[in-house]
């Protein structure tokens, strides 16, 4: 009896839910690393998606070729497992029959999902993937708005360091793919700029103590420290570098400082840290940048991740603009995304093949609690300052 009541109740609820969303909601699916190894990184992306959906719905819905329809996000936890993500996109496409897709978190997930969406001819604008490997994805189905691709980051970082008068560097690198790929392109670029590498050490992904490495950094007497780090080890570096009195004026951390928790954890101690990132709300030429920042802070009470939140929001903006023009037809969408120029919070974005060819590879510096673009000069929002 109770069981039957429960079942009936569930059926009734499902039907009610069906009625409520029957107003032809546009279903948008994605998977996210809600649990597991990358669960710390995923919220940056989800918050941006949810903010975007809320904004779109507040304005009456997503414009689908002239008609406004509400959006409904459908997501599943991929447990940080790229194979699971591929399975989820298969389900989203063939089982849930979503109208549009947003991207999962991270390079391995993107590349695994690329195979699935490609086989269905389903367009997906990527975001948080950065690797030279993305160029091996056949163009026309998945696009990558990031400009933080290692073969560009290496030469730009070396050129930037040179322009600030750096003569020698000490390098620490996580053995995980993104860090190693950056290292691979950084080393020849440093040599080309005539910058001496005084130390170059790898460390494991689950490192819990960096003191011996940092002692070597200190002993090296290099002008600059370049730590090719992931978020967890960026936190570790920052804490231990302070204890050991690492005082190089130029300190670069690869991934981590763009997260507001990083700035929150270290406050003024983190001032002057340079990191990878191509977006800042302070760039007045990008009209949508500041409003996004303000809306994000208003909704969540902390700043967006300058890298992942910005990229996730950009990918949604691109999708929104493309759908307004092409509707939901996959073929038309692919065509529009491949050929149009999009106005985003990061300025104009245009794809050539899978790659964004408008946004320059850039670096950010924490200055008085604010993240400023300091390189390259034409989009910089502030001058580089020694730490």
């Amino acid at each position: 009896m109770t069981l039957r009541n429960t079942v009936l109740g569930a059926v009734a609820l499902t039907m009610l839910a069906g009625v409520a969303s029957a107003q032809d909601a546009v279903k948008i699916g994605y998977s996210i690393a809600n649990t597991g190894l990358f669960s710390q990184a995923a919220p940056s992306q989800v918050t941006a998606y949810e903010l975007w959906a809320e904004q779109v719905n507040a304005e009456g819905g997503l414009e689908v070729a002239g008609e406004k329809r509400p959006v409904e996000l459908i997501w599943y936890d991929d447990e940080s497992d790229p194979a699971k993500a591929a399975q989820i996109y298969e389900k989203l496409i063939s089982d849930d029959e979503v109208d549009l897709l947003l991207a999962p978190w991270g390079t391995p997930h993107h590349l695994n999902v690329a195979g699935v969406v490609e086989s269905h001819g389903f367009p997906m604008v990527g975001n948080t993937a950065a690797s030279v490997a993305i160029r091996e994805v056949s163009p026309g189905n998945v696009w990558f708005p990031t400009s933080a691709i290692p073969d560009k980051v290496g030469p730009e970082l070396a050129a930037f360091a040179k322009s600030e008068g750096i003569g020698s560097v000490a390098i620490l690198a996580n053995v995980l793919p993104f860090a190693q790929e950056n290292l691979q392109f950084l080393l020849p670029a440093l040599e080309e700029q005539g910058i001496e590498v005084k130390m170059n050490e790898n460390y494991p992904p689950d490192i819990s103590d960096m003191t011996s490495l940092l002692a070597q950094v200190k002993a090296s007497g290099a002008d600059a420290v370049i730590a090719l780090s992931y978020p967890a080890d960026s936190f570790l570096y920052m804490g231990q570098a302070k204890e050991l009195g690492i005082d190089q004026p130029f300190q670069f951390l690869l991934v981590g400082p763009t997260i507001s928790a990083f700035q929150g954890a270290f406050g003024a101690d983190a001032d002057g840290i340079v990191t990878l990132g191509h977006w800042s709300p302070h760039q007045a030429d990008w009209e949508r940048a500041k409003p996004f920042y303000d809306a994000y802070v208003a909704k969540y009470g902390f700043a967006p991740d300058y890298l992942d939140s910005a990229l996730a929001y950009m990918s949604a903006e691109i999708l929104e603009a493309a759908v307004a023009q092409a509707g939901l037809d996959h073929e038309k969408l692919r065509d529009v995304i491949s050929t149009s120029t999009f106005d985003t919070i990061n300025g104009p974005v245009r794809f050539d093949g899978v790659e964004n060819v408008e946004t320059p590879t850039a670096f950010l510096q924490l200055q008085g609690g604010e993240m400023h673009l300091i390189w390259p000069g034409d989009i910089a929002t502030s001058e580089y300052q020694n730490r």
Partner: protein, 307 residues
């Protein structure tokens, strides 16, 4: 006579299951191909684990090392060797590795063996991670792999092969020798069972199919990453399935895999955390209340009826 009839029932059941797996794509669509693939994969892995650990009682907590080595072999040789060479070679690499570590590893028993196997799999994982870093290969891409259906068909063949192998070994002299080792290794040796040779053979044999499984699964990921294919969670899942299903009978791993795949399919999208909680609860319940797993319960039920 009864043995023959139960054999017949087992092989008929296996054939029906395999036939169903082969047609799942045309019946239910692509998503279910992947579910069937997972199911077949877990059968092949758990069956191979049971072949050695289930029969001898040497509990290995590091079987992912065979899977990972197979996957690595295929990833490294992708587009260099044809897949019909690369995948069996993955199995061979895993088997040779098992043979190499068998002699030292099998000298220890009980909890020491459990920890040793786990340690070896972690050691291999980090060694390969560092090797890849040294080679400047931070990631490997496998574009243009065969379709999910093609991988599924091969995987079903491996699931069937591992099940048949388990069944055959169990009823052979070799298999009875392995079971005797579980009972009392010293006595087994006294009555003339070549204990060391059987252990080494069993361990090596149990590595071959998981190596091929790993090789096949590498083809399902466009992006090959070391940490992913050597994920210890795979070893844990194998042991959980073996405990829940029962591991001294070829039906056990099939039941265990079916149970967990079904449970996970039911819950992962709606209540992923509940799945993990239930998993823990079931594991404890089976260890305490039904140590021979679902297959043990089945046997008990059968005996009750025949009385």
């Amino acid at each position: 006579m009864t043995v023959l009839r139960s054999d017949l029932a087992f092989f008929a059941g296996l054939a029906i299951l395999a036939g169903f797996g082969l047609s799942v794509g045309s019946l239910f669509g692509t998503y279910w191909v992947i579910v069937a693939l997972n199911f077949a994969m877990w059968i092949a892995l758990t069956q191979s684990w049971a072949l050695f650990s289930g029969l001898t009682g040497y509990i290995s907590l590091g079987n992912v090392v065979f899977y990972g080595l197979g996957a690595y072999t295929v990833a490294v040789s992708f587009k260099v060797l044809p897949l019909w060479v690369a995948v069996p070679m993955g199995g061979l690499v895993a088997a040779v590795f098992a043979l190499m570590i068998a002699v030292p590893a099998l000298r220890v028993r009980g909890p020491y063996f459990v920890i040793l196997t786990f340690g070896i799999s972690e050691l291999v994982k980090y060694s390969i991670l560092n090797l890849e870093t040294y080679l400047g290969k931070s990631s490997r891409l496998l574009f243009g792999a065969p379709s999910a259906e093609a991988v599924l068909y091969t995987m079903i063949a491996l699931a069937v092969a591992s099940s048949v192998l388990m069944r055959l070994v169990k009823s052979s002299t070799f298999g009875r020798g392995l079971v005797a080792i579980q009972g009392d290794e010293t006595s087994a040796e006294t009555v003339g069972i070549p204990v060391t040779r059987f252990k080494v053979m069993g361990f090596t044999l149990s590595a071959f199919i998981p190596g091929m499984v790993g090789g096949l699964m590498a083809l399902r990921s466009t992006y090959f990453e070391v940490l992913q294919v050597f994920n210890p969670f795979i070893s844990f899942t194998i042991v959980t399935m073996a405990i829940i299903g029962g591991s001294n009978d070829a039906r056990g791993p099939i039941l265990g895999a079916a149970f967990l795949v079904f449970l996970s399919e039911l819950l992962w999208s709606s209540a992923p955390r509940l799945y993990m909680i239930l998993l823990g609860a079931f594991l404890i319940a089976f260890v305490l209340l039904a140590p021979s797993g679902l297959v043990g319960l089945l046997r008990k039920y059968g005996e009750g009826h025949s009385k």
